[in-house]
């Protein structure tokens, strides 16, 4: 019984070939996608094609997120099965930490700034 479980356990490990690889076509697809996803936001900002700055900002941020996902899949070969899922777990943990650090800092510091009394109000309070 012990030998059975041992061989079954050994079978689901694939040592030595744990490196995820891409092929020429996936690398080229990733490259073409990133060129397009880089060119569009640069063009939007340089030409001012969209009427409002807020919309332009949101659109280029959306392009950045999509491009990061494209790089993760086609260049860094991320998937849910590599390293038995542990690299995906590490990535998800890091994304949670990054979101907390970024949104927390911006939120707290923005409130701090808006709660500071501006100088022109202080001069009127004598």
């Amino acid at each position: 019984m012990n030998t059975d479980t041992h061989t079954a356990h050994a079978d689901d490990h694939h040592h030595g070939d744990s490196y995820a690889h891409g092929s020429f076509s996936t690398y080229m697809l990733g490259f073409v996608l990133s060129v397009v996803l880089t060119a569009i936001p640069f063009w939007l900002v340089m030409s001012g094609a969209l009427p409002s700055k807020q919309i332009t900002a949101l659109v280029i941020m959306a392009f950045a997120v999509v491009q990061i996902v494209v790089h993760m899949i086609y260049f860094l070969h991320m998937n849910t099965t590599s390293e038995n899922g542990w690299s995906m777990m590490a990535l998800i943990f890091t994304i949670v930490m990054v979101v907390i650090a970024l949104s927390g800092s911006l939120w707290v510091m923005n409130h701090l700034n808006s709660n500071m009394m501006p100088m022109h109000q202080m001069t009127g309070m004598k």
């Binding site: 990535l91 990054v98 927390g104």
Partner: protein, 209 residues
């Protein structure tokens, strides 16, 4: 049922791993390196957060609109993007055991990386010449720290790349060198991912402000 008794500490059970099996050398390197990259990601997240908080404080100094040349940033971005695809080609030729072609693609990757660093240093020198030094305002301190840290990473990647080219020249595409090239591949592509954040949040959103 017989129980194995440790002669020195009689009565205590002896534990061992029933399913322990040998691991080949370096089998967990890619996961360990990935976790290192994630810790690097946290460093950049903190620098991005700092830039997000301080990026609007110009202290009556120059604003992004006065400083940034988007044409130059676009050229710089394409340098890094091209170096990513040429590193991909180096990995593909490595899998086919073509040493000379792998070395050639690694060299081309290094040249693109060098061009990226060169353009960035030119930009920095130009800004400092105009008086936009890191000491000028909180915005510029945060800018030089974030973009400079990324540039430092790329520079370290270049040193690593040259080191690996020497290793491959000396020992060929042995298993250890393949593993090292795979780690550098992750490092290099990861820096490209960070650059997406830099050109979007620092340069494009800065000029939009």
């Amino acid at each position: 049922m017989t129980v194995a008794v440790n002669p020195t500490q009689a009565g205590e059970p002896v534990f061992y791993l029933a399913d322990e099996h040998p691991h080949p050398e370096g089998y967990s390197t890619s996961l360990g390196f990935w976790i290192y990259l994630m810790s690097d990601c946290l460093i950049f997240a903190i620098l991005f957060a700092t830039f997000g908080v301080l990026g609007g404080n110009y202290a009556a100094g120059p604003a992004p609109k006065d400083l940034f040349d988007l044409d130059l940033v676009a050229v710089n971005t394409s340098m890094l993007l091209l170096s990513s695809i040429t590193y991909g080609f180096a990995m593909l030729t490595m899998q086919q055991n073509k040493i000379a072609q792998t070395q050639m693609w690694l060299a081309i990757t290094g040249l693109f990386g060098l061009a990226f660093i060169g353009i960035e240093l030119t930009e920095f020198a130009h800004m400092i010449h105009e008086g936009a030094t890191p000491q000028r305002s909180a915005f510029l301190s945060a800018f030089f720290t974030l973009v400079g840290t990324h540039g430092l990473h790329v520079s370290c990647g270049l040193i690593w790349l040259v080191t690996l080219m020497v290793q491959v020249q000396k020992f060929g595409l042995i298993e250890a060198n393949r593993r090292r090239l795979m780690c550098l591949s992750m490092f290099w592509h990861f820096l490209d991912v960070v650059w997406i954040g830099v050109f979007t949040f620092v340069y494009l959103l800065g000029v939009l402000r």
